[in-house]
């Protein structure tokens, strides 16, 4: 990837186009060429900027200076002063207070680009994932060596102080889990890496395992040392063939180098890791269902408490963390908790890996500090929508929430989102434009739960099936007004009575629809019309 010194973002929505933003872009390209800055400065567009009056608007990173309105004839001077001589142009900076407030989201990110900060993905794409030598060449193993110099208590303390929260979806503080397992009575303990990533739209763990499997092994070693475990499992989703092969090879090489096995580095510490391949069941990502599956049974969640921290695999204390959570551990041990806290927000430190999907121009994986906003994700990283207006986003796979456009300026971290009654989930951001129908989307999400419900407890088994049937009826034009009360009743039943997270969150999309898209639902039922024309409405 080309690295540039500065980046110019020009607003290029319909209103900006009317105020000659295309000419501004052309002028920038020309002026950058004239000053010989082509290799140092990149120009990009912001396809949707919200309700800002002074347009076109220009942001120059890394300073994140906002200029507006910019006319084509201003551009040569702006390039000369700001980009060539390196000083801002106060006369052209935005003055309208309303614009300054509304464009504040653009200035949150400072850096050479409105940039990614890679902690979890630090080695992905950089090292050969099948060569442990390359891993060692990129500081691999140093975190484990550092941890061995510390007491296990101190390792747990560092993780606690870092404020790292579990990246599997629930956001439970990792340090507290580690501490609980360390203090749990018993000699035999296990460390498990949950790599049964099956949330729709989420594939961050696959990329981490395929790109940097050794870091996961290193993190598990550190965890095992900290909690006093001598055996570990990686539970990898059966569909992830390449990830399975890469992790298998990584374990093999680590054993050959004596990094796994008995008396590692002569420290008297033993640890070995087994792989368990999943067999195609979403529910096995639930930690107790995962334990059942490793033990060779049906992947049905256990009743909690007791929690796995005291009664886990074969009844022994067990530490279970997600792949992304583990991938954060080595950098924290190496650089300390203060360094980690310099990323993200105080309550959710660090970065988050998101998968950007749906109707955007640029799909893919990004790692950014916690607390960025959806608007930023869509416009900067997603490079805007392919067509139409932003309607809603769906976070964190099926157990995430549906975020209406009105919440697109809310910082994405665990606490800000829960204040708004939505959840961050596992890091998928499915961006949907206004050609999508909310009833259709919620029906598809509910179908997922209906298929993936393990069938153990009644509220979930019956609730997911009933809600799916009702939504199908509504989408086919046979909805009744009393269906809405019935849906609400089923949702509260599932939320309150289900045994595990699947049932407890299965009603979330329906609730979000009732809260934010009631008019569209009513149109289906009362008028027999699907406003977007997606539903069959027979």
């Amino acid at each position: 990837m080309k690295t540039v010194r500065s980046m110019v973002l020009v607003s290029h929505d319909e209103k900006s186009k009317a105020s000659s933003s295309q000419e501004v872009i052309d002028a920038f390209n020309q002026a950058i060429k004239d000053f010989g800055l082509v290799d140092e400065v990149a120009v990009a567009t912001i396809p949707e900027i919200g309700t800002i009056r002074t347009l076109p608007l220009v942001v120059i990173y890394p300073e994140a200076s906002i200029y507006a309105p910019v006319r084509p004839e201003d551009v040569p001077f702006l390039v000369e002063e700001h980009l060539y001589k390196g000083r801002e142009v106060p006369a052209l900076k935005v003055k309208d207070p309303d614009t300054m407030r509304k464009a504040a989201w653009l200035t949150q990110r400072k850096g050479s680009l409105p940039a990614e900060s890679r902690i979890v993905l630090r080695n992905v794409g950089k090292i050969d994932p099948e060569s442990i030598d390359e891993f060692f060449a990129y500081e691999g193993g140093q975190a484990f060596a550092t941890a061995l110099q510390m007491t296990p208590e101190l390792v747990v303390q560092v993780i606690k102080e870092s404020g790292l929260r579990g990246r599997g979806g629930a956001g439970f503080p990792a340090g507290i889990k580690w501490d609980a397992v360390r203090k749990a009575p018993g000699k035999k303990k296990y460390v498990i890496c949950n790599a049964d990533e099956s949330e729709p739209g989420t594939f961050k763990d696959r990329v981490i395992m395929e790109g940097d499997p050794f870091s996961i092994l290193e993190a598990m070693l550190i965890a095992a040392y900290a909690v006093g475990a001598d055996e570990g499992y990686i539970y990898i989703r059966g569909e992830y063939q390449l990830a399975l092969e890469r992790v298998q090879k990584a374990i093999q090489q680590a054993r050959e180098y004596g990094v796994l096995g008995k008396n590692i580095f002569g420290s008297g510490f033993d640890f070995d890791i087994h792989i368990h391949a999943g067999a195609g069941a979403y529910i096995c990502g639930e930690e107790t269902a995962l334990l059942e599956s490793i033990e060779g049974g049906r992947g049905e969640p256990r009743v909690k408490p007791p929690y796995p921290t005291t009664h886990g695999l074969w009844g022994k204390p067990t530490l279970i963390n997600n792949v992304e959570t583990f991938a954060n551990i080595p950098p924290i041990i190496l650089n300390g908790s203060d360094w980690f806290r310099s990323y993200g927000t105080p309550s959710s430190p660090g970065t988050k890996v998101y998968t950007i999907l749906g109707n955007v121009n640029n799909k893919g994986l990004i790692e950014v500090p916690m607390g960025i906003t959806l608007r930023e994700v869509i416009n900067i990283y997603g490079k805007g929508l392919k067509q139409g207006q932003f309607k809603f986003a769906q976070t964190g796979g099926s157990s995430g929430s549906i975020i209406p456009a009105s919440l697109q300026d809310t910082p994405m971290d665990f606490d800000s989102y829960s204040k708004m009654g939505v959840s961050l989930g596992s890091g998928a951001l499915l961006i949907c434009d206004d050609s999508n129908c909310i009833v259709d989307a919620v029906r598809v999400l509910t179908r997922f739960f209906q298929v993936e419900c393990c069938g153990k407890c009644v509220p979930c088994r019956v609730g997911t099936d009933q809600t799916w049937k009702i939504l199908t009826e509504i989408s086919e034009g046979r909805g009744k007004m009393e269906d809405i009360a019935h849906l609400e009743w089923l949702c509260s039943g599932m939320e309150g009575l289900s045994n595990c997270g699947l049932g407890q969150t299965a009603g979330t999309p329906i609730r979000n629809m009732l809260d934010h898209f009631r008019a569209e639902l009513d149109a289906h039922i009362k008028l027999g019309v699907c406003p977007t024309g997606i539903c069959p409405m027979k």
Partner: protein
């Protein structure tokens, strides 16, 4: 890709011999049940009820338990399938980028409902939850090979590769 999965049903002797060969690689306890079932499904294309009984006979894991585990997991088929198995991803990320239209095209091309096998035994059509390759959606998997960014127009060419 070319392998023919539907061999005639194995005789009891073949089943017994093959399963005992597979079991040589495992400790015969419940912990290994899922890996054992994986291997049996790989060998025969699916896990027949005779195979379930044979596993019980050779491992002394109760047949009810073997059956309940085998039927729980999507990747352990207990029904016979066609030569090529199509998994269509029906999750939302594929659905909103053209999966909706692709499914109609797939169904009218194959003339199959989800779960059905074509009369000539060429195709079995199954729907699945997210396959984790959403950035290439809409996605189908044929015999484990992922085909992404599909459209109703590009579908026939992909299907024609599997005879």
């Amino acid at each position: 890709m070319e392998e023919n999965k539907t061999t005639p049903a194995p005789t009891p002797e073949v089943l017994q011999r093959e399963i005992s060969l597979i079991l040589e690689d495992f400790k015969k306890d419940r912990e290994n049940l899922i890996p054992i079932l994986h291997r049996v499904a790989e060998r025969f294309g699916y896990i027949s009820s005779q195979a379930l009984y044979e596993i019980t006979a050779q491992t002394s894991i109760p047949v009810a338990e073997v059956f309940s585990v085998a039927t729980f997991y999507r990747m352990l088929p207990t029904q016979e399938r066609g030569r090529h198995v199509i998994l269509f991803c029906e999750s939302l990320p594929c659905h909103v980028v053209g999966g909706r239209e692709l499914f109609h095209a797939l169904q009218s091309e194959l003339q199959l409902e989800p779960g059905q096998t074509s009369p000539d035994n060429r195709w079995t059509l199954l729907t699945t939850s997210c396959l984790g390759v959403c950035d290439f959606g809409p996605v189908i998997s044929i015999d484990g090979n992922i085909h992404g960014n599909l459209t109703p127009e590009s579908l026939p060419e992909v299907l024609s590769k599997y005879q």
